[in-house]
Amino acid sequence: MLIPTGAILVAMLLFAAFVFAIGQSPLDVFGLLYEGAFGSSFSWQNSLLSASPLILTGLTVAIPAQAGMVIIGGEGALALGALGAAVAGAALGGLPPLLAQFGILIAGALVGAFWIGLSGWLRNYRGVNETISSLLLSYIGIALLNFFVEGPLKDPASLNKPSTAPISAADMIGNLPGLEVHYGLVIGALCALVTWFILRFTTIGFALKTVGGNPRASQMAGLRVNLWVVGAAAAGGAAAGLAGAIEVAAVQGAANSSVVADYGYAGILVAFIARQNPLAVIPVAILLGGINAAGGMLQRRLDMPDATVLVLQGIVFVVILTSDTLTGRFRARKQPEAALAASTTAAIATAITTDGGEQT
């Protein structure tokens, strides 16, 4: 908690120096950022709205990270999730709305799970680095979305912006009562909470961390490492696919190129700032969503380019990652290595006894 907060402060200072260097007042900029992000109920709603996909794409990185993977392909899984959701939306048109919505979301999640799960599978069975493969798959996924949206699945009625056939209005996911924020935010937050609970309090989370910490020891302890790795990647992909499905069912109404809006990449940032903790993903996503939402304000009031937000995010990201070097340098957090090893061994032993079903 201390290190990320300090890092964000350092990043803010660097950004202030940058703003000063280009001849703007840092105080004005920060004031406007706050006003645009959290200054009024209107800006809060905007911030929450942009935060909702970021929670899920943050989980796309954070869940596989528990098993020791760095997945950066959320963008493509989100795009294909959107495509899957649109196809499901067309197929499930006749069903009662609640069922159709459920089907749409599940379809998106399944497609996303398959796509990132593929990265996990390739890592396990072919030894292909998951970071690179997920990045490549991400670009392939976006290309597939563009191909289907402008080709086989194009709705002839969508002239200006090629899209799939719109899902019926009754099946659209609505807004929270009294707000301009759709239920996607709740779905995302619930996913983060459930993930946190599972990782923190169940043997599933424990097994994942063991696999991430030491695959060989886990294998010895009887965990089926392959399954866990693929499963974690697929779970992460499901989150991204769900984000895509929500974009379709709550915002766009159909799959089109607008769903590819860098949510996947921002999710990497979210997860790293949250230090891969699913619970921390929620506030970080809201913070980042707020900064995104406030970008327009900077553009209108100070005539600063919309890329200002990107610069701020870039600085925050670099500083946060650099601050990793400080972990473990403070006495209180330091655990002697021998004790750590002993506790891991003991923990694995417990895992075996409590989770006998995992033995191969």
């Binding site: 760095v70 950066i72 390739l122 890592r123 396990n124 069975y125 072919r126 030894g127 292909v128 680095n129 970071t131 690179i132 493969s133 990045l135 490549l136 798959l137 670009y139 392939i140 290309a143 597939l144 563009n146 191909f147 402008e150 080709g151 695959p215 990449y265 990497i268 940032l269 790293f272 380019p305 919309d306 890329a307 200002t308 937000v309 990107l310 610069v311 701020l312 995010q313 870039g314 600085i315 990201f317 670099v318 946060i320 990652l321 650099t322 990793d324 070097t325 972990t327 473990g328």
Partner: protein, 311 residues
Amino acid sequence: MTGTTTAIGWWGVPLEILAGAIRVSTPFLLVSLGECITEKSGRINLGLEGVLIMGAMSGYGASLYTGSPWLGVVAAGIVGALFGLLHGVLCSLRRVNDIAIGISIMMLGTGLAFFLGKPLIQPQAPVLPSIPFGFWSSSSQIQSALQINPLFLAGVALAVALHFAFRHTRWGMQLRIVGDSEDAARALGYQVIPVRIKATMIGGFLAGTGGAFLSLYYPGSWNEGLSSGQGIIAVALVIFARWEPLRCLWASLLFGGAGALGPALQAMGITSGYYLLNAAPYVLTLGILIATCAPNRKISGAPGELSLIRQ
């Protein structure tokens, strides 16, 4: 477009693909050679996409304000080297992950380039000249196809030079030892970290010049959609080329050709599948990775210290 194709008939298509391949492959070539040097030292810089965009912006700006496109190329290289330095130094800190830092550099470089490049979108800067190798032909199509940029030739020369340097020079050996085994390098008395920082800086320099090619030659203007992921593809391309500079050259031409196929077919009126063709380089790279990797075995030719390969 159909009018010009009839001049030499259907031969226009392969010619256009060849010309396109050379044009499109130049940034791939420069960035991948840079990344090859960086990866040989045992680090991966995934941020070259950001460095490339930053190089494109600063090269364009420098060319606009000095009036000399070549100064623009130099400026782009220097900016790229500075970003390489940043990556190199940060990754030398304990516990800092080079892949993650790369992604953050990508974000920062892109953001800074878009921010600082806003005033550069309108004005037209002087662009790089090309060498007319098609002077012998009377066909305007052949002439335009054989307009070759000196940066491409520089890239080819560099690929050949690196091929020998990696094997036969002290510098190349040192780089490979550092990349293959930190322990061996230390035992021989080499300083691992300075070598890696230098290698990352050279990688950044080349990526910057690759960006300058985009903004100062083809397409030859600065805008935010200038790069279509060349920096990312180049990183994958190095793996595809198995860390061999000469193979980087062939692979760049292949990827450039694949990239040029789409627009060439589009010019012929074949538009369906355009997006799938765009994804061809990624599919190709993934295919090669799947074919050559195996669990419990490194990709042949991979530097031993590369975090990418160590599971």
